[in-house]
Amino acid sequence: MLAFDLFEPYGFQFFQHGIIVATIAGALCGLLGVFVVLRGMSYIGHGLSHAVFGGAAASAVIGINFFIGAGIWGIISGVLIARVARRRVLGADAAIGVVTTASFALGLALMNRYGQASKSIEAVLFGSVLGVKVADIVAVSLVAVFALAVIIVWYRKLLFSTFDPDVAQVSGVKVSVVEVVLLSLLSLTILVTMRVIGTLLISALLVIPAAAARMTTNSFSRLLWVSPIIGAITCFVGMNLSYHLDTSASATIILLDALVFIVVYTVAGTRNRMKMASLGHV
């Protein structure tokens, strides 16, 4: 009976599509989230998801393919953020604030004026498993493979420019190019995951698994394994839970991520206190 209940959602095609996209998206966000967390750019996921929303609205109004329209828009936003942030008088937070909120506002205005009104806005903001198609599985898989390839081939450049951008530049690494590529990957990731998670909660998927993983290891290479695993597992389990609890998939996934973070935070804190206490006896 229990087994029947557990496997019931797999009888629906929309769920099969949704859980594949969510699990790959969780791993992808966990992977890129390592750079987001280590670069102190937690706000970027939030900002870029808002920017991509503007692109999604614009592509719907113009009548071009969603992935092409929103993807180009997201990449342009990422490049603009990188350019504005380089003017140190402003900083990255102000750059993200200006570029992405303007884009989000434009998206809202376009949808109000020309769009199919509130239902599609809600689907983009909060995600909708029902809307996941085979094309989404292909898109998220392609972006995941591309991101993995970039991270493997550029591993050293990414690590160097994240740890010490000034010295990386002096050592011949084109830091600005690395930054643009990373922001473009983030934009593409947000683009292909927004149907399941929604623009409002994607930033949590970019930050929480990586932040939780960071507390479990002091090794950068291990972080690149642990964080995607946490992201993938929480998305997989969260999708199943959301079906059985009849709650929103995105909200359930993020709550599960938050729970994992709290558990890891508590265990890591206790372990550190015990370590300090044992040192006190020396």
């Binding site: 010490d164 990386a168 002096v170 050592s171 690494v173 950068f220």
Partner: protein, 256 residues
């Protein structure tokens, strides 16, 4: 000493916004030299290094370098994120980012890292996380990273800033050894007695070059007042100049 010029700054001016940080700076660094740039806070020391490294634009003038010159740069350790999840070995191998795309550290690289760490006397810390290091070890690790590139010139920004007396001695002796081995070194420092007085050549900078020469020629009351804008006395101690700051503040209750 060879007079082969590695870096040549001619009439260099740099700005931050509308304010000039460097004004008509002329400085030349020859192969085999050990040069210290001293000056007060805001005098343009770090900006001069950044202009040489190509990370700060030059508004006027020019900086020419010998073709294919390899620079080894050691930033201020105070700017390092010590919580970043990397080991000493990973920090040092980072400098091979351009020449190798393979993510894993190879056996040959591992051996080269050991060699450079052994040369600097910290071979045992290769697998340590950077947060676990002492002050002296931290400075040596970033020196090792710069040395890993086999640089023609080592450029260091305030190598003794924020370190204790023992670490300062360690760093000074280490740099003296590297210089004796033929390495060219250019550094900035605000530490007149602990570091600058021991160097063979000093450049006093306050937006422009005030003086350039050996410490005995440069560390004089007139040059120091022109550089720092405050009167200073120079004594001799153990055959070396010792700068005494006259900016003493009378504390409340003192002398009663």
């Amino acid at each position: 000493m060879s007079s082969e010029s590695l870096i040549n700054c001619e009439h260099v001016s740099c700005t931050y916004g509308n304010s000039a940080v460097l004004d008509d700076v002329y400085m030349r660094v020859n192969r085999g030299e050990f040069v210290g740039v001293v000056g007060p806070s805001g005098s343009g020391k770090t900006t001069l290094l950044k202009a040489i490294l190509g990370t700060h634009p030059v508004a006027h003038g020019s900086i020419t370098m010998q073709p294919k010159l390899t620079l080894g740069y050691v930033p201020q350790v105070e700017t390092v994120d010590w919580y970043f999840p990397v080991t000493v070995e990973e920090v040092i191998v980072m400098t091979r980012s351009k020449s190798s795309w393979w993510p894993r550290i190879t056996q040959a690289e591992r051996k080269a890292v050991r060699d450079v760490l052994d040369r600097l006397g910290i071979g045992e810390v290769a697998n340590s996380h950077i947060r676990e290091l002492s002050g002296g070890q931290q400075q040596r690790v970033f020196l090792a990273r710069a040395m890993f590139r086999n640089p023609d010139i080592l450029i260091m920004d305030e190598p003794t800033s924020g370190v204790d007396v023992r670490t300062r001695h360690e760093v000074l002796h280490l740099l003296a050894d590297l210089h004796a081995d033929g390495l060219t070194i250019l550094l900035t420092t605000h530490d007149l007695n602990g570091l600058a007085a021991h160097l063979p050549r000093l450049v006093c900078l306050n937006k422009r070059v005030i003086a350039d020469g050996n410490p005995r020629e440069v560390l004089t009351p007139s040059v120091l007042e022109a550089t720092y804008g405050a009167p200073m006395e120079v004594l001799e101690h153990g055959g070396m100049p010792l700068v005494v700051d006259h900016g003493r503040v009378q504390m409340r209750g003192e002398g009663k």
